[in-house]
């Protein structure tokens, strides 16, 4: 039993570290984790849920705004990008945020093809992050089920 917990904990640590190292997460995510406590044990997953709901909604808005047969309203696209940039920044979704920064410039330049490509990337990126975080939460669950405690991962 003990070795299972230890094994899972090590797996978890490595996984979380890799998410930071690969640039999926930044220190804002660490900040969010620090806000979670016994009084609000599901804070991080609740916030992430809201974030991914936002992603679906905003990506949809952007797709619709870009899918015009006539003139594209880049300010409309830009408004959704701005929102997504804000929430990705607040959640520590580093790659998504980075893409939004590029996306914003493409909107300002009214670069249609650039925007369409960037939107595809954003779509892939948030879905990838969602899957990775799901794996992370699953590991947490496994640790707890095995009788262990989810370790604090020190990001250095």
């Amino acid at each position: 039993m003990d070795s299972l917990v230890a094994q899972l904990q090590m797996q978890y640590r490595n996984y979380v570290l890799s998410l930071y190292q690969q640039g999926f997460l930044d220190d804002q995510f660490t900040e969010l984790k620090s806000l979670q406590d016994d009084g609000s044990p599901d804070f991080v997953s609740e916030v992430l849920s809201l974030f991914f709901d936002d992603c679906v909604k905003l990506v949809g808005n952007m797709a619709r705004a870009l899918d015009q047969t006539g003139t594209v309203d880049f300010s409309q696209v830009g408004a959704s990008v701005h929102q997504l940039k804000g929430s990705s920044s607040s959640v520590g979704a580093k790659r998504v945020k980075g893409l939004c920064i590029n996306f914003k410039e493409l909107c300002e330049a009214k670069n249609y093809e650039g925007c369409v490509r960037c939107l595809q990337q954003v779509d892939i990126e948030y879905k990838t992050l969602k899957a990775k975080l799901q794996d992370m939460f699953n590991l947490e669950k496994q640790i707890v089920q095995a009788g262990g405690i989810v370790p604090q991962v020190d990001i250095k």
Binding site: Q28, S40, V47, F51, H82, S87, S89, S90
Partner: protein
């Protein structure tokens, strides 16, 4: 969110049109041991305070708050909101004789120096760049403490002539206000009250506000040390 009784905890009214951001600021404030009420718009904020369409608390038909029930020690608001922006809300609060003493903090995801200085000029205590962190909120304690102390100790001293000073944002009323506040505060010498020290510090600060503000603009950070401010004083930039 229920109304908080004015106990020893600070009560903060948080305004943001994004559900996500509301959740975040709520958790941050709770973690800072504050009672929180979140609303989604400037209108809802004014409603909560009891200011609807400029009708103030002496109108019997308005939703007038009784000070014991709806004491708000700080308003923290997003800047970019549809309809009434955080700046509009700030103005409304500062123009209200009932609520102008409530410290207001503005949050924004964009570092726009002109925006920041405009808000600070209008009377905002701090301007935070999003994402707001716990460390940022720790800077707010002195501002909220002032309101609580003020409510508890200065109610007898508050007099109507304060209003005209409070709403003056243009011109240079700072020194004049400082002197008047000084006169009001002197009778309380017997208490170990830091207000006299604050008064001195404020006057010193008024002479060099630009450094702090510039730092805010350049770095997007709120100023390092808590800037003690007495009501009615607008900081020139």
């Amino acid at each position: 969110m229920g109304m908080a009784a004015a106990e020893s905890q600070f009560h903060v009214l948080a305004v943001d049109d994004s559900l996500f951001d509301r959740k975040l600021i709520e958790r941050l404030l709770q973690k800072s041991s504050c009672q929180v009420t979140t609303v989604e718009s400037g209108y809802k904020a004014l409603e909560f305070l009891g200011l609807r369409q400029g009708i103030e608390s002496n109108d019997p038909t308005a939703l007038s708050p009784s000070p014991q029930e709806v004491e708000v020690n700080l308003i923290i608001t997003d800047y970019c909101m549809p309809g009434m922006t955080g700046y509009d809300l700030l103005k409304r609060v500062k123009e209200s004789s009932a609520f102008k003493n409530i410290p207001v903090v503005i949050m924004s995801s964009e570092n726009v120096p002109a925006r920041i200085s405009r808000c600070l000029e209008e009377g905002a205590e701090e301007f935070f760049l999003k994402p707001v962190r716990l460390a940022d909120l720790n800077k707010l304690k002195p501002h909220m403490m002032k309101t609580k102390l003020k409510n508890q100790k200065f109610e007898a001293i508050e007099n109507p002539s304060n209003d005209e000073n409070g709403t003056a944002a243009a011109g240079e009323p700072e020194i004049k206000d400082s002197v008047e506040m000084g006169i009001k505060i002197l009778p309380i010498q017997s208490e170990p009250e830091p207000k006299q020290v604050l008064l001195h510090v404020v006057q010193q600060e008024e002479q060099t506000p630009s450094n702090n503000k510039r730092k805010s603009m350049e770095e997007g950070l709120s100023t390092d040390r808590p800037r003690p401010r007495l009501e009615g004083i607008a900081t020139a930039v």
